[in-house]
């Protein structure tokens, strides 16, 4: 089981790179979008994935220009989108060439279908194509390579305006690099594809699957802007609201707080992670919005219960947890509910109730240490030293090897996205069949 905690935190930076062959790049991109097989790191994906960050920046600018031209050609109302300046003025022949490509594209293919395929391509690059530092090893960046040995945080911060991703593990900053731009490009193309995103199944599926992926991989730095954009398009989407709640719940966790704290001593770097209190408040708000959108969303109720407990509202927490249990229908989720409910009962000084729920959790997962430690602590809190020692000895009697243990608590902050692969398959399937989603 992987428990190395990677918290990616975002900071502002800027880069400057020369533009390079925009016409050829645009042609390559169009071909890649049409030829890419979703769900694979195929040649088209690797080709675009190998572009440098500077090339991607210029491409983003050219893409924005192209989208505007196609909308005009198709007689569509122009979309409001931020106009990205190219790194240097776009020469007139380049402008004419992009116009030509745009017109040719508009006549040749289903524009919406093309843009959706583009969103899938860029998501696949971000998810499947190894970064290979391709987006950071630009000429300007090679002079200042990300290198943890040389205090990279200190060296990096002066350079720019955009994003820096800090990777941390077990609360320690490991590495630093510029974030990939493929998620931004994917969002730009997808948002241009749908006139009514709230009713567009591809938009919904894309945001749900990719957000699940980002949270499952603990790529928090990307998940925040992703969810912001997703909820802007789909404000009442219960699944996205749930993911937003779970993200903030994870931000309040000791592992992310420790990672964020590890960066506090770095001047001019600011973590996006708020205090425990602030993150829990946001989590509660999003879980409540989830339940308002879908009152039968039992997993959201389970998490709301936990968050309320962490905020000291134990009776309210216990009520939500109790309500969730009959609707959960999944052993792992019921385990969480029993564990959390035991905790709330203990906080409410209802010893028997606490013991009962901890014991149920222990029965569901006989090789889990958390309920046994909880039973030990409960016994010790009530002066039952032999009982406490007995429970702890049960923990010691569990198999010593990690892979022989099974405690879902260790996966709690990723449990809500355990169906990521299925969501991604669901997103890609219509494109693989060749149908028009």
């Amino acid at each position: 089981m992987h428990l190395g905690l990677i918290a990616a935190l975002v900071f502002s930076v800027s880069i400057q790179t020369p533009a390079d062959e925009p016409i050829a790049r645009m042609s390559d991109w169009m071909a890649a979008v049409e030829r890419h097989k979703p769900g694979t790191a195929d040649a088209p994906a690797r080709l675009i994935g190998a572009w440098s960050r500077a090339e991607l920046r210029d491409f983003q600018s050219d893409l924005t220009f192209l989208l505007g031209v196609v909308e005009a050609v198709n007689g569509l109302p122009p979309r409001k989108r931020p106009m990205l300046r190219p790194s240097r003025p776009r020469p007139r022949p380049v402008v004419s060439a992009i116009r030509g490509l745009a017109k040719e594209l508009a006549q040749r293919c289903d524009w919406n279908q093309f843009l959706k395929r583009a969103a899938l391509l860029h998501a696949d690059i971000a998810m499947l194509v190894p970064l290979e530092r391709s987006s950071v090893q630009t000429p300007s960046l090679q002079a200042d390579p990300p290198s943890p040995q040389a205090d990279p945080l200190r060296r990096r911060r002066a350079s720019s305006s955009g994003r820096i991703i800090v990777e941390t593990e077990d609360g320690v900053a490991l590495d630093i690099e510029y974030g990939t731009l493929h998620w931004d490009i994917g969002r730009t193309t997808l948002e241009s594809a749908a006139r009514d995103p709230a009713r567009d199944e591809t938009v919904q599926a894309w945001y749900r699957a990719t957000t699940a992926y980002l949270e499952n991989e603990e790529q928090f730095a990307y998940a925040v802007p992703h969810l912001n954009a997703g909820l802007h398009l789909l404000p009442g989407d219960a699944r996205l609201l749930f993911y937003a709640g779970a993200l903030h719940e994870a931000f309040a966790s000791p592992s992310v707080q420790a990672a964020s704290r590890a960066l506090e001593s770095r001047p001019n770097l600011k973590s996006e992670v708020g205090s425990v209190e602030a993150e829990l408040e946001l989590a509660e708000r999003f879980f409540r919005q989830t339940l308002a959108a879908d009152p039968r969303f039992a997993e959201a109720r389970l998490r709301l219960g936990r968050v309320l407990g962490l905020r000291g509202r134990h009776e309210e927490a216990a009520n939500e947890l109790r309500r969730s249990i009959p609707q959960l229908g999944d052993t792992q989720l019921v385990y969480y509910a029993e564990l959390f409910l035991g905790h709330e009962e203990a906080a409410l000084r209802r010893r028997d109730g606490a013991r009962e729920h901890f014991e149920r959790a222990a029965t569901l997962y006989p090789r889990a240490q958390s309920p046994r430690l909880a039973l030990g602590l409960l016994a010790r809190a009530y002066g039952d030293r032999p009982g406490a020692v007995r429970s702890v000895k049960e923990v010691f009697a569990l198999p010593p090897q990690e892979d022989e243990r099974e405690d879902p608590w260790w996966e709690y902050h990723k449990a809500h996205v355990r169906n990521t692969d299925a969501l991604l398959d669901e997103l890609r399937l219509p494109f693989l069949k060749g149908s028009k989603p």
Partner: protein, 286 residues
């Protein structure tokens, strides 16, 4: 909709082990004695040879008659609790293993040692034993992986200490903050308040006020060592053992104080310049 929003509510962390009425603690067969582990130093050096009459002990402000002041007479139970999370790898692991071996080499034959290693998984490397080779083998076999379940492991270690009547030194090494425990820090600190075990925390790096290992060390009358480099761990481990051996174990039967609740302890020595370190209090009936 923006995920960032103004916020300002306070968090109340749930503590699952609230102080409650509990059965009386007993430290001998018939009397309700209280034991207090005390370190007395003068200019940083342990002050040796003190007798019960040299101490003043106030229990909730009421002076108590000290029955015994034992010194280096009671065999120790040393519980080594070592962080084996992902961040303890490479050189750190070598240093940690070497420090563990040094500590075991400094133990007396009639003393006991146990090993608990932790990542997110709490593992018993060795029960309390006089077979130090077994503990050594446990240290060598442990491999770093996963997150840091410091709070869970600390609780398990205190309970292992409480499983035996001897005097327990819990030596906890961690190179970071907790990232994986189920148990709430406040609840485990509450248990530590009730325990006789003395915890010495050793950490690579700096901890803040309010960090769990700092609080745990202070609450149990132990001490926190913050080392700059894990290369220094060996002398620190052995130093902790030496310091613990130089502690006095005071024993008294509470008189004129309530039989339950939190008891504030003040221990003084009738010597000018002497510094006393002891647990700040105990919870009666636990």
């Amino acid at each position: 909709m923006n995920l960032r929003a103004p916020v300002g509510l306070a968090l109340l962390l749930a503590a699952s082990g609230d102080p409650i009425e509990a059965q009386r603690a007993t430290f001998s067969a018939k009397t309700e004695a209280v034991r207090v582990d005390v370190l007395v130093t003068d200019n940083g050096r342990p002050l040796l040879g003190l007798m019960p009459a040299d101490f003043e002990l106030l229990d909730n402000g009421v002076a108590q008659q000290i029955d015994h002041a034992s010194f280096e007479q009671i065999p120790l139970n040393v519980i080594l609790t070592l962080d084996m999370s992902d961040s303890v790898a490479g050189e750190r692991l070598d240093d940690l293993r070497s420090a563990g071996r040094s500590l075991l080499g400094a133990l007396k034959k009639d003393e006991h040692a146990a090993l608990i290693t932790f990542s997110h998984v709490v593992t018993l490397g060795s029960e309390l034993t006089t077979d130090f080779d077994r503990v050594r083998a446990g240290i060598e076999a442990a491999e770093p992986t996963g997150g840091t379940g410091l709070v869970d492991a600390s609780f398990a270690s205190i309970m292992l200490g409480e499983s035996d009547v001897e005097r327990s030194l819990v030596l906890v090494f961690s190179d970071g903050l907790d990232t994986a425990s189920w148990l709430a820090p406040d609840a485990v600190l509450d248990v530590a308040r009730r325990s006789d075990a003395v915890v010495y925390g050793i950490t690579a790096g700096r901890l803040r006020r309010g960090d769990f290992l700092r609080d745990l060390s202070e609450l149990t009358g132990g001490r926190l060592y913050e080392v700059e480099s894990t290369a220094d761990l060996g002398p620190v481990f052995v130093g902790v053992l030496e310091e613990f051996r130089h502690r006095y174990l005071l024993s008294y039967s509470p008189n004129g104080v309530s039989k339950d609740g939190w008891h504030r302890l003040e221990v003084r020595v009738k010597r000018r310049g002497a510094t006393v370190k002891a647990r700040p209090g105990y919870l009666a009936g636990s």
